[in-house]
Assembly symmetry: D2
Homo-oligomer: 354 residues x 4
């Protein structure tokens, strides 16, 4: 199976290059009879779209999703749901002289090495533009599990991070700020930092934290398809992601068992949640908590040394329009991938819940 | 597809419960004509087996692998390779009174919730004993790519960590110490810490770092099956893993693009390796560097509060034999999962390298 | 995995309803660097399209394929190839009063039973219109294996059949007649029979025979994915197909081993070909010969008794535009499915031919 | 995915060579809590085993199945069920001089061409001995759907066939005769014919017919994974199968639509069953009727011309022990493959029946 498909029971396949005519996908496996809330899907896309605030790239894509199949009289029919999004505001001439240059920390060289030739315009298939299709797929997947609430937010940008435990944050405020940081003070500092970085023609990394509540007990499979394993894969499949933590994450490595173990209490609920809502690969009903690290955007305006396809040294300072920090726009992508994974396991689990 | 299978072109399926008669698996997809170095496979198993040193559990399994098919006159035939390992030294009576107790941070409760009943002896299918089969599969997978070298080691135990960059470690010394830490001073401190923790009837977490060299350029698929995504899934599928980093990992979140970008130089090699050997989801020929966090073992001798299957409060102090720190034994498991992922992508990539 | 996907290494996923806005698909897994002969793809579609001759339905779809991704400068890039075909000449009003009627030998009732509701316009997803996407996918797949020649033809219509062995037919004449029967006399009789059946407001079945030459030795997998097994699945997945034969087919049941065995001679070539080009599930280099039976089209103008969704008896005489015999239009569909199966196994086999 | 696996939700992977130490498999995906009727599984195996009657090969394998995992206290646990069967009565010396001879209509040559070398003893992986594992898997699968009754029988041997419609046969008599033909007169003639063929050192083909009742409405997927398509694949994956028919089969090709259509009557049941119980790829509740053609066994005692691996002409007269007609022993294999396909679709369908 080539690499453009994710899921087993709910399956998303995406296609399209950054500067092609369109991008899109097919979501197969949705049960029938589910009301398709097109506004909710479009809203998710709007949260990802470029040009949404002064903190993002100037590329201004309206990113309106069009559905082509699988929905009849407002409901899913159980047949594949095809959708597409037009590429409108791409400016391929920004990339015309890049066909022979291998940009640092981009996929140019490895694509040429693997495929022999590539659609170099705007990064082609390796561009994060592809993630718009994941957002559509994820929003549809979310409709399957109305009882499950997936919330993600910007938890750090560069050196600035939220210090408060998520239970003490007002998560209704995530969308209130262009950084998607629900801590007002940190949000302000992040905004200033991103603007500073942009002025320096540089970029910055950051982290996204997500909490999922309302998850039924038992989602996941015991061995290779542990729920945290499929979540980790989904997260690491997002462009620019370099790290993943579930529950206690890396801090677990320095802990004692007596500190880390989550004692079980009333109604089989754990008193603490170092597990992050997953035990033995299966959801245990506690909130699923995860954190994802994004590297700084590779495209920067500063001059960098690199080589062209002949192996000759060249100096490059990017002219294309790009985000100084992808993290605010990555929040809906993280949510979408979580929803795809959970909905897939939700359907895979049905045979055990008859 | 149920969750006991990993890989697409090279496919491992495992079976077996901790205290059943045997565990085993089928590795399907190995090309024909590969010499099967049984000693190498057994050696990998010996590095994982319980009872190998004073730092591990007292359960003493010889763990001798038996092959049942797919090998003829010492070479693979291209047909499925079945193998099994007998469970000999299990002491199910240690678990006899556990059938109704839900141990903290174990899968007992979620298994019952999902499946209705479970093989509770020694953790059944949720036990890390299952990973012995991964070690066999990974050792076989490694035979496919003799040019690829996978090395993993214990990089931290509890609060004690190696501070030296891996390039300055003597990786030939990994096996010289029961901790599998190649830094002699840290190794000694880790050993003392593990012994201390064991005396306290407690357990500790730690990290494993891995470096893979000799990887051909172009392994991986661009979108969902990025090489780092499949590695992350493989790592998070290992019992007790809570975090994963590729290359710069979480530190990338605080970096600037101008710091993080890996400039490309002579022979298309990068001057730095923040990417960790993978760009755009494809290997770029630089060493693949990753790090994995393990939580402390959940089974401890200290008394803990929990509930039984009736939801009644009980106090539990484990009597079974368990490791105070799994990290040294996890090293060969990490290596095995890396080999399975790389070999799978190695075979998937062949159609592009004709 | 839901049912709208076929193939493992070369994967086609299709979508779309008969009277939706469009149908289409994604072909994933094509290696890079293959020249895309758009005219060849369109030509295959033209051979399938409705309204192509006086023997087919009056629905007149131009069926022009549009490509959306995966092709750059005329060559495949190794990324997914998305394509679509607009539905233009659908007349859903023909079906408006069918939303509550369960047509005999159609999928109306079973769709309602399985999915709860359905897109009843023109048969929705169950319509053979979906096969246009297979023709596109198959034509692209064929570009992978220029040395392989796939030829199919109408070998019978109702009681009229070609009696000549295929080696004595002039297969260059298949397209010379609207029946796609290369035997001129049988073709004429078939044409008259189809016209007669149409006048009777009835329909007729028939058979398609296919011969594939130039197949490399060794395509196929030994056990479940035998080449003939995947071909059988592909054929039986075509609407209206009721039977499949490889090589000697059902006649083998009455034969003796000494008659049926294909002795091996010079250059390891068999002297006879009762095997139909496949032995032990693997191609042996001889022509692959197969035959497929199509039932008569279910939609007929004659009055038939049936029930509506309330279970009440109704009498139905179809008004929609339909073919009196699908077999001539099925020829390119059979070819397409063969190409998809062979190209998939062609790619799966590469790891053995390094 | 290599070719030794079948199914998506219920997945069987098999391993083993004819003259290796053992054969076996893993059945993954069985829901938990199903009582495992070991006697029923063993009974199915006994019906397939060699040496069961004077009509079969003299190879006398007791074929006792051993289970290694996935069953606890007599019930499935939802984890993989591993099983094995020892090879006891193999006489590899019968094959010692066959390592360099390519037997007519056997896989020897194509295996060598594909894999470079092969386990030639007893046909290795290409031997029908592998189907014993399918019988185990199918018997387990059948336990999932107690309401579904799968019955298969020998409907023809060479020129002798049952002429009676199956509704008029006494299907309780299938096992009463070593031919597994429920028509006593035909059974007697078949027996005599098989004995005659054996005396002639020859072999004969035949057909198996199967009828499945009690199938819920809606099993199957609309497009590529139509129920008849997956059945066809399963049947053609059995060694020696050359043809497949569902319902009317090849006779449909000569029929008119007005003859072939199954009018729908009371309770949405069809009055006739030309469809063979499947419409639009989905089961419609009527009996599923299918027929499978088996070629004569390739191994015969008569002298045949062939070549060795050097391409030199040799004359071969088989000495190994083989069946003069596989059809009676194929009956339980056909049943097993049907059960595997139906149970897989049964589980895949659950998400639509919540």
């Amino acid at each position: 199976m080539p690499g453009n498909t994710i899921g087993q029971s709910l399956v998303l396949t995406t296609y399209g290059e950054s500067h092609g005519e369109q991008i899109g996908g097919i979501l197969d496996g949705m049960p029938s009879g589910i009301e398709v809330d097109i506004a909710a899907v479009q809203n998710a896309l709007d949260r990802r779209r470029p040009g949404q605030s002064h903190l993002t790239t100037d590329r201004n894509e309206v990113d309106q999703v069009r559905f082509h199949s699988g929905v009849f009289k407002g409901k899913t029919t159980g047949t594949p749901i095809a959708f597409s999004i037009l590429n409108k505001d791409h400016q391929s001439k920004d990339y015309a002289d890049l066909d022979k240059v291998y940009r640092p920390s981009h996929a140019d060289y490895v694509y040429d090495a693997k495929y022999g030739h590539r659609d170099y315009r705007g990064g082609g298939r390796s561009s994060a533009r592809e993630t718009a299709c994941r957002v559509v797929g994820g929003a549809l997947a979310g409709l399957l599990m109305p009882e499950v609430q997936v919330r993600a937010w910007t938890s750090s940008v560069g050196p600035i991070e939220i210090k408060t435990n998520w239970q003490h944050l007002d998560l209704t405020q995530i969308e209130a700020h262009p950084t998607r940081c629900p801590d007002p003070q940190a949000a302000g500092e992040m905004e200033a930092y991103i603007e500073h970085v942009r002025e320096e023609k540089d970029s910055t990394g950051g982290t996204v934290t997500a909490v999922i509540t309302g998850v039924p007990v038992g989602l996941g499979e015991p061995v290779f398809d542990k729920l945290q394993a499929d979540l980790a894969k989904a997260m690491l499949s997002i462009n620019a992601v370099k790290g993943f933590e579930i529950g206690s994450g890396f801090s677990a490595a320095a802990m004692l068992g007596s500190q880390h173990n989550d004692e079980i209490g009333k109604n089989f609920q754990t008193k603490t949640n170092n597990a992050g809502g997953i035990v033995g690969g299966l959801s245990n009903g506690a909130p699923i908590e995860l954190k994802v690290a994004f590297k700084p955007v590779a495209t920067i305006g500063k001059a960098q040394e690199t080589v062209n396809s002949q192996g000759e040294k060249v100096v490059l300072a990017a002219k294309g329009r790009h985000d100084p920090c992808v993290v605010p726009r990555a929040v809906p992508i993280v949510e979408a991938m979580i929803k795809l994974v959970l909905a897939d396991h939700y359907l895979r689990n049905i045979k055990y819940t008859r």
